[in-house]
Symmetry: C2
Subunit: 210 residues, 2 copies
DNA sequence: TTTCAATGCGAGCTTCATTCATATTTTACT
DNA sequence: AGTAAAATATGAATGAAGCTCGCATTGAAA
């Protein structure tokens, strides 16, 4: 069983210690991301990534123990970005909003993150299948963030409640918005409204006063 | 864009026309399923599958155009099983149940299906990453079933409503129950209750009379 | 300057998935 | 039964991709 850690995973790739290699590593990651978006993870070869990043294959493997580690590094990058994005929703101004508005903004926030980051989709579409631990680690971080939000919304929540509600919101609602982002624009808009309704009705059952 | 079809996918594998090959094909599928559960899709090799099923590698490729087709065949098998399982929820006795009870049974039904079928998890964990079309095809079938259920619950629903609600229930709630099935028993029970609440509150907003 | 760690490099090894030419068995039809 | 066509059987060989390894070069600390 995988122990749930409260810190971000160490990351399986070797971080360069010299400046010149930093730029190469970042180039590899950027190229990899682009190729994963265009062709999918499986179709993109390590040779291709190395070639387009203009580094020899040996150098690629100097920093990434294997192909999957490249994907993990991208996942790490994105998870941090998403968590950063979520911080706005912990601010007092946000927390004091009526629940309706809060939920609406939150849903839209998540959605626009997905929409604006084509690489996110390409990355996590592979991740959640091939590397459940990594996916789990990302979700854990998101759930922690959500738990903090819940406590701010209602200090009386037990830890168990927070745990369960955060799980529901991340897995159910998060997945819904994620799935919606792959749908045609019109239907997607409708689905976002549904996601709001889903969240709102559920949260209301825990926060009746709002 | 992938067109949404209302029929089950043709299936990319060649169905045997002679009895002797049926048993071999089924043996290959059974062995593949077991290996995918034990080692995961990527780790299981076609040679291994062929060897354990006691057929030469050439024979395997006689029926399955590639490794992925084996996985698809398993997905087909399971989707049909799940849809069959869902039919109970379209019967008049079920439909007439109070919404609370209906939702409870439904949630439990889905959950026990996941629990009782270890192969389902192993199969779809690969599917939804590596072969989105297949996953989509399965979800489409489930959504169709759910749309029929919705119409029976309330004949006044528009087609758009049914489409949206079914999408939400399959993607959000389905995914939640799926995720819960990978959690420790105690937490899992709690999550199932949450899944019920989530569904119930959401459906109630569309079916106030219940 | 010396010295060692960090980085650069790419031909070649290994491990799969997949093919193909050929042999055998089953089915359909006379 | 006899025979042609279709279906099935077979496994050595091919090719593609991930990854290794020994050696060369550069950076930085002493």
């Amino acid at each position: 069983m995988i122990e749930k850690s409260s810190v971000a995973m160490p990351g399986r790739w070797r971080k360069p210690k010299q400046a010149r290699s930093w730029v190469r590593v970042n180039r590899m990651l950027d190229v990899a991301e682009a190729l994963f978006v265009e062709q999918g993870y499986a179709a993109a070869t390590t040779k291709q990534i190395a070639a387009e990043a203009d580094v020899p294959i040996g150098t690629l493997y100097q920093f990434f123990p294997d192909k999957a580690a490249i994907l993990e590094a991208l996942a790490e990058r994105y998870t941090n970005l998403l968590i950063e994005r979520m911080q706005v929703f912990e601010t007092p101004e946000m927390i004091e909003l009526p629940l309706e508005d809060y939920v609406k903004r939150f849903t839209e926030g998540i959605d626009s993150f997905f929409t604006e980051s084509p690489g996110y989709r390409a990355t996590f579409i592979e991740i959640n299948t091939a590397m459940p631990e990594v996916d789990q680690a990302g979700d854990d971080l998101l759930m922690q963030a959500y738990k903090r939000i819940l406590l701010k919304l209602n200090g009386a929540f037990t830890d168990d409640d927070c745990e369960a509600i955060a799980f529901v919101m991340i897995k159910a609602v998060g997945n819904l918005v994620w799935s919606a982002s792959g749908q045609p624009p019109e239907f997607r808009q409708r689905l976002l409204l549904e996601a709001e309704q889903l969240s709102l009705n559920y949260l209301k059952s825990y926060l009746p006063e709002a």
